[in-house]
């Protein structure tokens, strides 16, 4: 069974630029999560989808971050404009039925 796929693996941008990350969950997993992992910290949930609907986006900085999952399968997370403090690893995870989450390899973002 293929795991959670993410791209790109690495991205370097200047502050105030925009960036987008892509995630393809495990086939059949209805729940998809985006986490932000700042160096030295545990992952923090940004947004959670159930199929193509948002379940929880309480910790998503909505003035600059947006996410969508239009067809209930893959998802994109966008940052516009990026700030220095957005430098982090962005992890995507998926689950079947909302219990055990399976994580992708992550995208490491560096904002200069």
């Amino acid at each position: 069974e293929a795991g959670v796929a993410q791209s790109p693996r690495y991205k370097i941008i200047e502050k105030r630029q925009s960036v987008a990350f892509w995630c393809n969950p495990i086939s059949g997993h209805a729940t998809l999560y985006w986490y932000q992992q700042i160096l030295g910290q545990g992952p923090k949930l940004l947004i959670q989808f159930q199929n193509n609907g948002v379940v929880d986006d309480s910790q998503l900085p909505k003035d600059r971050f947006s996410a969508e999952r239009l067809k209930g399968v893959d998802s994109t997370l966008k940052i516009q404009p990026a700030k220095l403090e957005d430098s982090a690893v962005y992890l995507c995870a998926s689950s079947f039925g909302g219990d055990t989450q399976y994580f992708g390899p992550g995208t490491r973002l560096t904002v200069l």
Binding site: G40, D99, F103
Partner: protein, 115 residues
């Protein structure tokens, strides 16, 4: 407030020695509990999980963890550490039941293994 505390930021052990990584949680109800491992440049891999039943759970790679409700702890153990176990370990807690499992992670414990 819901939280997870991993008191040890960094631990170093010798190869072949036993290991215990501590995890304490604060949660308003009976939680789901997880341990994940993250190798450099990789995503998180599930080691084991506790939902209910036997409080001693077995996971992959020879790891086990014990849920102690009275101490609000879920410590991870391994009797003999291998050099390949060097990684960062995260404890996480989530709500029991329901369809949408929001996990709260600890800050992680980085494990180094001496040959």
């Amino acid at each position: 407030a819901q939280s997870v505390t991993q008191p040890d930021i960094h631990i170093t052990v010798s190869e072949g020695a036993s290991l215990e990584l501590r995890c304490n949680y604060s949660y308003g109800a009976t939680p789901y509990l997880f341990w994940y491992v993250q190798s450099p440049g990789q995503g998180l891999q599930l080691l084991l999980k506790y939902f209910s039943g036997d409080t001693l759970v077995q996971g992959i790679k020879g790891f086990e963890a014990e849920f102690k409700r009275s101490q609000s702890s879920f410590n991870l153990r391994k009797p003999s550490v291998h050099w390949s176990d060097a990684a960062e370990y995260f404890c996480a807690v989530g709500p029991l039941g329901g369809g949408y499992n929001k996990l709260i992670f600890g800050a992680g414990t980085r494990l180094a293994v001496h040959p």
